[in-house]
Subunit: 235 residues, 2 copies
Amino acid sequence: MKLLLSSNSTMPGEEYLGFPSPYIKTFLGEKPVKALFIPYAAVTFSFDEYEQKVNEAFQRGGHSVVSIHHFDNPAKAIEEAEAIVVGGGNTWQLVRMLHDQNLMMAIRRNVQSGTPYIGWSAGSNVACPTLRTTNDMPIIDPTSFNTTGLVPFQINPHYMDANPDGHAGETREQRINEFIEINPLTFVVGLREGTLLKLENEKLELIGNRSARIFIQGLDAYELNPGDDFNFLLK
Amino acid sequence: MKLLLSSNSTMPGEEYLGFPSPYIKTFLGEKPVKALFIPYAAVTFSFDEYEQKVNEAFQRGGHSVVSIHHFDNPAKAIEEAEAIVVGGGNTWQLVRMLHDQNLMMAIRRNVQSGTPYIGWSAGSNVACPTLRTTNDMPIIDPTSFNTTGLVPFQINPHYMDANPDGHAGETREQRINEFIEINPLTFVVGLREGTLLKLENEKLELIGNRSARIFIQGLDAYELNPGDDFNFLLK
């Protein structure tokens, strides 16, 4: 399997998909790839707009995308895709649309057979077994909480360490501790903005210049850095 | 109906239930009330601990609570309650436990018949039609997204205006705008920390020293202050 899972699309001040672009370019290879883009996480802007924005970013790296909403048979589009790209936005809306069209297992099957998968934010959430570590507002019932399970652990994208000053709501760490209390067998990676997880040649690695925070029931949460072993998460 | 719905329990630096305590005291009246406490939103601490913490705060105002987990028949406990108090924590866990025990409609029926209801954070979420404007991590499938519908609008507790510096994730305003895009007939109140909504004598009012942010599909989000008319939200 080939997976590139980014915490987020863009750091403040960057152009769209700024920091992930060099990694996407290398991940897809020298030969230009026309990837299938899944824009379903978009809620307050159109699929056409989303496709155009992502396509411009991919073209800077010599690749391109075409959005699944142009295909009459989306399951067939997934089957024939050179690569699958799932963009961020609202995870609940994304998962609902994937379930409504029976695409969740189609993605799983094809990525497990070798189709490269790229996701950021909500697109990284759906690479996990369930959407239970999303930060998004549950604006719609997703039918099922299950997602593709391409990896056996959960990612919390946009992981952040503290609340804004003076804000009393739960921290992200408290929220993930609640998750592992209720789901004690599942590991969680708090993936900070500006970082990605890459799975290639059966090796899972952290990319970027910040550490990731690992949550395992019964242990204190701890940090792992780029270069550290992440493969234990695949077991 | 008598409702007291707080954004949060405690401001940084305060004792537990600091700012809501004077309002709770007045809301429950001069005569000491022994309220029924629902601690189900607790995930990483015990119901006994939660009950004790809340009881200490209520006793400072001359009232007290007893937790529903001590009763063999929780539906009967709700029916006979002098007041119902629903504490914060994880909304998903709270909603799941209320559905599992068929208590959601028991609460609705009894509060509609006059039993005073006090909630903070997750406890304010369940006073709304659904849990779709919670900020909490969906650590468990709640069975149904529906909650008590004591009010016809949605509250977003712990409402905050901006992300921490340098954080690129969606702002709360963006998340709620996604909600009203998908649920265009539902009004949302962004309830800032340190503020409460009180419904008494058929009048809904904002309490505290900050404004609330109102989200209605088709309008720009806007601010309402304590003293402003909030009753349009009940229609």
